[in-house]
Amino acid sequence: MAGRPQPGPVRRGRAVLVGGVLSGVLALLLAACTPGSQNAGAPAPGGDRAVRTDIAALGPVTLTVWDQEVRGGQNEQMEKLNAAFHQRFPNVTIKRVSRSFDDLATTLRLAISGNEVPDVVQANNSRAEMGAFVAANQLLSLEPWAKAYDWHERYPASVQQYVSYSADGKQFGQGNLYGLPQVGEVVGVYYNQAELDRLHIAAPRTWDEFEAALGTAKAAGATPLELGNLEKWPALHVFGTVQDQLAPPDQIATLAFGRSGSSWNTPENLQTAQKIVDWVKAGYFNTGVNGIDDNQAWQAFAKGQAVFLIGGSWYAPDLRAALGDKVHFMAPPPRAGRPVSATGGTGLPFAITSKAAQPDAAAAYLDFITNPDAMKVLTATGNLPVVDTAAQQPPDRISGELFTAFAAASGQGKLLPYLDYATPTMSDTIGAALQDLLGGAKTPQQFLDTVQADYAAFVAKNG
């Protein structure tokens, strides 16, 4: 009948059409500005610049620092050093923004490409973060100040590689210095001395002894190794530790830094993956590794439910609090004829953004928080200092064991990078693939093929 309101579907259809057209128009309007265009003109920061070390003469300066030093000892050292810096240079005020590791990772990318860019940031060494920032010209090369403050002498070469990128961000592990780390990290073997005594196992000195100890523990009915891989990254350290003992260090470094010239499809990597599968089949791990998270795993170890825990130096404060004298740490015991080889690296380094108003003040700050006096403060607050580690006075026994392990690996031994540094997507790829390997859903060869695909695709694109 004439004049009746149109039935539902037709009116709705028209509304959908109008909505679609509107959004299309909107999209076209916005097409005028390509994303990222405000950063496109960012000049590549010059390598040769006149540096000033006379900070007092700069007048009032505010440095905005974004860090992730939130845990007990970390927060303490940051506050102490910031206060001391302000005392040294009263004209410089530090505005500190502190976030957890995960929160910083999520927000740093937006902040550094936004309008209010912090001056100093703690950026993860990986290609996904620091590499991407360097490629986008958002971090200043520290080379000019390195000459003035002697940073190349301060850090050993094995540590400098973790904070070096080429100017275009393509080469990782060599090139210009982009960040200064305060602390080191090393992945080793925690063991419960009480469990070893109970099972009459001697603390292993070599890799063969370690594998034998696993077998003995299993035969005696204990859980040899604790692992909680729900969050995908803990198994990376177990795999890396095994790989460090079986594969040539150059091969590992090339793969982990995402450099061209190597492959995951080598006999040594296959051997490593096979060994992990063998350990799973022999029951060396707790049941359901993929269903337990990292916290539950170290807590289970702390309750004495396993003999060994392969993990990083960051567990030490919690394990010391829980197990006291019973827990010990050692670098992975090497195979005969090989040096101490451990996965490890640095804590998040501090870098200067290219939009920093006073880079000289920022560089002085970086120097201050990593100089020998700062290392003493770091030691005293329970952290693992990355410089002069062997010369520091550890506050307790397990810290001493951490320092010894780190010094051994970074000095005469081999400190090998984390495998997920390799490509921006490697963390996801290898994390998921390891879960599948541990769960029996992938064979060792399939695992290698998956990881190789990611590595090869990146290297082909990157050069």
Binding site: A27, V289, G291
Partner: protein
């Protein structure tokens, strides 16, 4: 004199008044002089619309715009047209993510509907004492934040958690495992957590609908010899069609946009077996630096939710005619 036209509509034809068919809404005439001018209604709408446009339409437009580019969030983007959308269809991981979201619909919408219908029917018919108490208890999971739900269920599913304890207690110890790390059962396990959350909502909605059904209908059916099941299918189910549509809409949306539950329990694992589109959006935009791809996944998810809910609303409406 009044003329009665066909089918009872009265058509008045008298004197100075123009012929107006009674029973038919008349077209509003433009007023002159008295009354508010035409832009006033729009002015009332404006504040709400501005907020809506600023927080919904603009981000949506921007997301569509971003999805046409290949952008890492830092450097200059490159235009790729519909390349990201082609990836959504061709990339195995993304296809799997959407597949998992569809599986979650079964757990978030399908199971709660079945359970909710049965529960509401029983609660409605049996005239249970303390109905308000039961309604509250059943609805409680909805009130808990999804992150808390995720943390709690992660504990429950741990190898030494309550689920495995329960299985061992009833003699089914062989079935106990690390649920969230199991390659086949991780997604159903997460789905069950969703069922637990959504059942209360569906039950309460359907109870409300069922309480509107007049009792005489049931009496009449009983006199005709209908049993409980027959009554349910003949009377109860058709009369809650509208509430069912609402419940399905809400639960399907909840299933497709699930992020916090996956993020807190499995992070997409084991492997990629519990990844869902919204988690992929977060992962790609913030961790992998593939903002354009993330935007494309987000837009695709939006369209998918829209289409599914249109279909549900269509089914719901058909019952009203």
């Amino acid at each position: 004199m009044a003329d009665i036209g066909p089918s009872g509509t009265g058509i008045m034809t008298s004197g100075s008044r123009p012929p107006v068919a009674v029973g038919v809404p008349s077209v509003p005439r433009p007023r002159r002089g008295l009354g508010p001018p035409g832009w006033v209604p729009l002015a009332y709408l404006a504040p709400g619309f501005l907020v809506y446009a600023a927080f919904l339409l603009y981000p949506l437009g921007r997301a569509v715009h971003l999805s046409l580019f290949d952008w890492d969030g830092l450097t200059l983007a490159t235009f790729v047209g519909f390349g990201n959308y082609v990836d959504v269809v061709t990339d195995e991981k993304l296809r799997a993510a959407f597949g998992h979201a569809l599986v979650l619909i079964v757990f978030f919408a399908g199971l709660p509907t079945v359970v909710g219908l049965a529960l509401a029917a029983v609660l409605n018919r049996a005239k249970v004492r303390g109905l308000a108490f039961f309604r509250t208890v059943v609805f409680l999971p909805q009130v808990v934040a999804m992150v808390v739900v995720g943390v709690a269920w992660r504990r429950l599913y741990a190898p030494d958690g309550s689920v495995n304890d329960l299985l061992r207690a009833v003699g089914l110890g062989g079935l106990s495992r690390a649920w969230l790390g199991d390659t086949t059962l991780a997604l159903p396990a997460v789905g069950v957590a969703g069922t637990w959350v959504q059942t209360g909502l569906v039950t309460v909605l359907l109870l409300a609908g069922m309480s509107r059904v007049p009792g005489d209908l049931y009496e009449a059916a009983r006199l005709d010899g209908a049993g409980a099941v027959r009554e349910f299918f003949a009377i109860t189910l058709p009369s809650v069609r509208a509430e069912l549509a609402v419940a399905l809409t809400l639960t399907v949306i909840a299933a497709l946009k699930t992020f916090d539950l996956i993020y807190v329990t499995t992070g997409g694992g084991p492997g990629d077996r519990t990844s869902v589109p919204s988690f992929e959006v977060y992962n790609r935009a913030f961790r992998l630096g593939e903002v354009g791809s993330a935007a494309a996944v987000g837009v695709t998810l939006t369209v998918l939710i829209f289409v599914i809910n249109m279909a549900v609303a269509r089914i719901g409406e058909r019952g009203e005619r």
